[in-house]
């Protein structure tokens, strides 16, 4: 009532100056809130938006003395160099292959783990398993990777002890190009599966129990319940996680590779982030590596946009 009345009053005074003053007054009354936001906004400008502007050095010949704005333009020189550089294709291939292997093997396992945990009746058992399998997520790759390297070591690692026990010859896994990507995927599975299952467990707990009751009344078997109630119930979550994953197709975590790899396996293990680090930070090729980063971001953005469109067309899920 009073709202309508004040609206009416506002219409009776059509001068915009009055409204402008009102806005100013509203802003002034929130001055402390703006003050609270100021440090974070400054952070976003300096550490997010300025670097975005800084990506222009991908099209320049960056030099320290001239700075980002003052360095001379170089056109597409760095991109032309990249696309004629055989190593670059190799690195992109490594990055994509590791991600595809992860998508095939590492992506479905947390779903299976969540489904298995969901079948458990004993709450105590379930809690214990969860406590153990979530834990490695909280260790750094340096620690976890270090332990893995020790396990895979040529003469003394567990894995080789087992191989030798069965009469095989010890293998120096981490120096063999044919094993490296597999090791990356398997260690990733051991470390992150538990944590990855949480989101699916959340989705599972959100399924309406009435659906199961109805299925039981209809005489559904356990497998049928899984296929017709449980899986459809978490399908949206699976699709969203998949979209996010595809968006990261050119992104392999720096820390895992950096800890596990060595010069003997660069050929199969070097990915975009480790390459950018070695060539960019260590050899100071800033423009060239910024070009790689830009390539990576643009492709990533297109991929996430594309999969989102596909998901929207063929299902009712999308991220926006």
């Amino acid at each position: 009532m009073s709202d309508a009345a004040s609206n009416h009053a506002a219409k009776l005074q059509p001068r915009s100056r009055g409204r402008g003053r009102k806005t100013l007054k509203a802003i002034w009354s929130c001055r402390y809130l703006y003050l609270l936001m100021a440090p974070a906004l400054a952070w976003y400008i300096v550490y997010r938006y300025v670097p975005m502007l800084g990506t222009q050095i991908a099209f320049k010949n960056y030099s320290f003395s001239k700075g980002i704005l003052g360095s001379p333009w170089a056109g597409l020189k760095h991109f032309a160099f990249l696309f004629s550089f055989p190593d670059f294709y190799n690195i992109v291939r490594n990055t994509i292959l590791i991600n595809i292997y992860n998508l095939l093997f590492e992506f479905p396992i947390p779903i299976i783990l969540a489904l298995m945990l969901n079948e458990l009746r004993s709450l105590k058992f379930k809690k214990t398993i969860q406590t153990v399998v979530y834990f490695p997520h909280f260790l750094s790759w340096v620690i976890f990777g270090g332990l893995m390297i020790q396990f895979l070591s040529p003469n003394e690692g567990f894995v080789n002890k087992i191989i030798e026990f069965f009469g095989g010859d010890a293998i120096f896994f981490l120096s063999r190009t044919e094993y490296f990507r597999g090791i990356v995927v398997i260690t990733n599975i051991i470390k992150e599966t538990g944590w990855g299952a949480i989101i699916y467990l959340a989705a599972l707990s959100g399924i309406d129990p009435a659906l199961y009751e109805a299925a039981i009344i209809d005489g559904a078997s356990r497998t049928q319940k899984l296929l017709y109630v449980t899986l459809p119930g978490i399908m949206n979550t699976i699709i969203i996680m998949l979209i996010l994953r595809v968006g990261y197709l050119l992104d392999v975590g720096f820390e895992q590779i950096y800890v596990l790899y060595n010069a003997a396996v660069y050929e199969v293990g070097d990915v975009l982030s480790t390459f950018i680090y070695r060539i960019g930070i260590q050899d100071m090729q800033f423009s060239l590596t910024t070009a790689i980063g830009l390539f990576q971001s643009v492709i990533g953005f297109l991929l996430i946009w594309g999969t989102n469109r596909l998901a929207r067309r063929y299902s009712d899920v999308s991220m926006w």
Binding site: Y32, Y44, Y47, L120, R121, N155, Y277
Partner: protein, 300 residues
């Protein structure tokens, strides 16, 4: 509900198969749990063993010749101590900075009457859409003059947009009437945040804080990129140097490159010491954060 479901299913013909299935699921889960736990268990056992008796690659179910010599040695290593101190400092200051900066902006964004709220939300969310990449960020960190200092590990990592959104959701759930009555009494927004809103949100702050602390403790990439001098390094870099020595020793079969510091017991002892803080906060993380993620996931 699900309990009655299995019970009734089990009574039907073919019920026995269901029990074997359950046993199978249990066995697979136990196996997976063992695989994830073995590496860490092994590290504890090796670090507690007598350095003279333990050799690489032995399966240790219990420490061989119990000894804490390795821990004593690692705690006497000056480089380890410097790195440990830097990591503790980084974690404490970094977490405090994270919480202060993030809860301040999150509170402002949670006030629905704030003029420009939508714009500011977009402003922070858009930053997640496009990642400028390692090098431009590095150049900015360098330009702001904090490179090769503790600040380089704290300031660029001060904000995670997800955390701001989570905190904002928590703050939005606090009834507005509390804020209004405080305003009547003449309190300004900062006062309200500090003396009313934050005390009411302690569980959520603890969750976000724990997460920030674990992130700081484990973070490795920024230390490698932003810090070059030895005396400013963090634990993760110390541990990684040990691994490199180990890899070189395997690679070139050179026992000399394997210094005393990277011997098995010292290596595992430093891993254990570096993990103790994580183990200490793990029960709290599990309790709060798992629930937090669940709520976030359900909310969409």
């Amino acid at each position: 509900m699900a309990n009655t479901a299995t019970a009734s299913a089990a009574r039907r013909p073919g019920g026995e198969r269901i029990y074997t299935n359950n046993a199978l699921i249990g066995a697979v889960l136990i196996l997976f749990a063992i695989v994830t736990f073995i590496p860490f268990y092994y590290a504890i056992m090796a670090s507690l063993s007598d350095p003279k008796l333990v050799s690489e690659g032995e399966l240790l179910l219990y420490p061989r010749g119990f000894s804490i010599a390795a821990f004593r040695r690692i705690l006497e290593n000056s480089r380890f101590l410097i790195c440990f101190k830097n990591t503790v400092l980084r974690t404490l200051i970094g977490t405090a900075v994270n919480l202060t900066v993030q809860s301040s902006i999150a509170y402002s964004l949670s006030r629905k009457y704030l003029p420009g709220r939508k714009f500011f939300m977009l402003f922070i969310i858009f930053s997640m859409m496009f990642n400028p990449g390692i090098i431009p960020t590095y150049l900015v960190v360098k330009a702001t003059g904090i490179i090769n200092s503790l600040a380089a590990l704290i300031i660029p990592a001060a904000i995670s947009t997800w955390n701001i959104i989570l905190l904002r959701n928590f703050f939005e759930a606090i009834p507005e009437s509390i804020e209004e009555s405080a305003k009547m009494d003449g309190a300004n927004d900062i006062r309200i945040l500090v003396s009313i809103v934050l005390p009411l949100s302690l569980p959520s702050l603890a969750t976000i804080g724990l997460f920030a602390a674990v992130m700081h403790w484990n973070s490795f990439m920024d230390a490698v990129i932003y810090v070059t001098s030895q005396d400013k390094h963090v634990l993760q870099v110390f541990l990684r140097d040990m691994i490199v020595q180990l890899q070189n020793a395997y690679m070139f079969g050179d026992p000399l490159s394997m210094t005393d510091v990277s011997s098995l017991s010292l290596r595992t002892a430093s891993v254990v010491v570096s993990t103790i803080p994580i183990v200490a906060v793990y029960p709290f993380i599990q309790r709060h954060f798992v629930r937090g993620i669940m709520v976030g996931a359900v909310k969409g």
